[in-house]
């Protein structure tokens, strides 16, 4: 530590604000540096002198003097001798958009009326652009004293501004949704697109977002109602006449099966035996057992003239045994 730095730290040391290694370093330096030691002592005595208790001076008559001399001067100086007093205009609040939208229909009517009176060409309106040229013509026309025109003139800038904003929003929303296609199906109004627009007022921004949502193709307003819900009701069977029912039962019971059905009903089992040795005439022998009676019949010749005596007990279906 050199003398210059020690000199800077002396005041803090005397006040007791010096701590740690700075304090130790300063004490070490003061220990071996006579000049700094002397400076320290001088500073201590100076502070003692300054900090000695002092008597306070008490002036008298200040308040009276103040009131008598200073205050009247100030008051005369404050009030202007020549001055123009401007009447303070009350704060005018633009009507909110909702209340403005209503007379917009009347705005066109007022514009038409004024146009008729003054016979000036009115720019024919694109529906979105209707307020703007109307406002321009209203501004161009001499100041009319009618209430409608004044109200319209007041409402027109706000409405025009709002229309401009919403038109911008609409364009922004359409441009946003068109190229992305499938990807833009997440929500209605894309907040990012709207945040990029500098819509100043909270109210206008809210309305802009609502408008953007309303024009979005996925809004329920734009869904086509072509899918109808199919309501299937169970059809009840027509009531049956009991006579008709009985007749049908009788018919069912007395029905005679057709020959095919009869033949199929019979259970015929063909037991195959060994192949019959061929006889002289060239035909084999086949036997057939009837399951019902248990008899075995042999057929004499196959392919020959059928034997005149058909064994009894066999039902008519025996002729088919020669297979």
């Amino acid at each position: 530590m050199n003398c210059q730095k020690a000199g800077d730290l002396l005041s803090a040391y005397i006040d007791g604000e010096l701590t740690g290694r700075h304090c130790e370093a300063l004490e070490a330096h003061v220990g071996h540096c006579a000049g700094c030691r002397e400076e320290l002592e001088t500073l201590r005595s100076t502070i003692a002198l300054l900090a000695a208790p002092k008597t306070m001076a008490r002036p008298e008559g200040l308040l009276e003097e103040f009131k008598a001399k200073y205050l009247p001067e100030a008051e005369t100086a404050a009030a202007p001798r020549w001055g123009i007093w401007l009447p303070v205009m009350p704060r005018f609040e633009w009507p909110s958009l909702g209340r403005v939208m209503l007379p917009m229909g009347g705005l066109a009517a007022a514009a038409a009326l004024l146009v008729a009176l003054h016979s000036q060409p009115l720019v024919v309106a694109h529906p979105q652009g209707a307020p703007a040229p109307a406002a321009r013509t209203l501004a161009a026309l001499p100041a009319a004293s009618t209430e409608a025109s004044s109200a319209a003139a007041l409402a027109a800038p706000r409405a025009a501004r709002a229309e401009g904003e919403t038109a911008r929003v609409e364009n922004g929303a359409r441009l946003r949704t068109a190229p992305t296609g499938e990807k833009s199906r997440t929500g209605f109004g894309e907040p990012r697109a709207l945040a990029a627009l500098n819509v100043p007022h909270r109210r206008s921004r809210h309305r802009a977002m609502a408008f953007a949502a309303a024009v979005h193709p996925h809004h329920p307003r734009h869904q086509r109602p072509d899918t109808y819900q199919l309501v299937v009701r169970p059809r009840l069977a027509p009531p049956v006449d009991p006579d008709v029912l009985k007749q049908a039962e009788l018919q069912h019971e007395n029905a005679v099966p057709s020959p095919e059905v009869q033949w199929q009903d019979q259970v015929v089992m063909i037991r195959r035996t060994a192949t019959a040795a061929p006889t002289d005439e060239g035909y084999g022998e086949a036997s057939c057992k009837d399951l019902v009676t248990g008899k075995t019949e042999k057929s004499i010749a196959i392919g020959g003239s059928p034997s005149p005596a058909v064994p009894a007990g066999a039902p008519a279906g025996d002729s088919g045994g020669g297979k």
Binding site: D8, T42, L43, L49, L50, T55, A57, P59, L63
Partner: protein, 206 residues
């Protein structure tokens, strides 16, 4: 020579009451109660006068500065937001007023070594029990301080005459803590140098 300090410095009940009264007074005056201003004036006139006397030097200028200070307080009471204590606000106005008047004063001998001008108690006779050497010491201190630059003089007056803390000095002077400490240190060093010089000359003459 203690003056009302903000209640955050000491948890003193009477101090807190004083601050409540301060806030009440200024509030009442802002609403139009002139009696509140009178009470405020009487409460702070001594402190403000002593600050002005310490910085400016002579009693007449000190009176003028005091009146100007209270005039500004009268006019700007509505602008007092309560960000600082009322006392520091008033002292700030007083210090700025005094430094302004010092600047306007011609640079000709400011430190008049005449005893009449440098008397500490101009209007009242000094009480008899005040030791002569103490009076001489105080006189000498006053004389030395006259020779200092306005900044150093102000810092010394606020620290040793009004006994403000570092925070209050920061508020009154508008400096940060480091600047206040450095200025105080340099003011002490300057005072010490002048005092040593005086002692040498006095020793030489004696």
């Amino acid at each position: 020579m203690k003056m009302p300090r903000p209640s955050t410095v000491e948890g003193n009940r009477t101090m807190a009451k004083a601050i409540d009264t301060d806030a009440c007074l200024i509030e009442r005056f802002a609403r139009g109660d002139t009696a509140a201003f009178d009470r405020l004036f009487l409460k702070y006139q001594d402190y403000v006068y002593n600050i002005c006397l310490g910085v400016v030097g002579n009693p007449e200028d000190a009176r003028d500065c005091t009146q100007e200070t209270f005039l500004k307080v009268y006019k700007n009471a509505k602008e007092f937001r309560g960000q600082s204590a009322l006392s520091t606000w008033i002292y700030r106005i007083a210090v700025n007023q005094c430094l302004g008047s010092l600047r306007k004063r011609p640079k000709a001998p400011v430190a008049s070594l005449d005893d009449e001008n440098c008397k500490e108690l101009p209007d009242t006779a000094p009480p008899p029990w005040v030791a002569a050497e103490r009076k001489a010491e105080a006189q000498e201190v006053r004389e030395i301080m006259e020779g200092l630059t306005p900044d150093y003089k102000t810092v010394l007056v606020l620290r040793y005459y009004q006994e403000l803390s570092y925070e209050e000095m920061m508020q009154v002077l508008g400096w940060n803590l480091a600047v206040v400490k450095v200025k105080l240190h340099r003011a002490r060093q300057a005072f010490a140098k002048q005092y040593a010089a005086r002692q040498k000359t006095q020793g030489a003459t004696e």
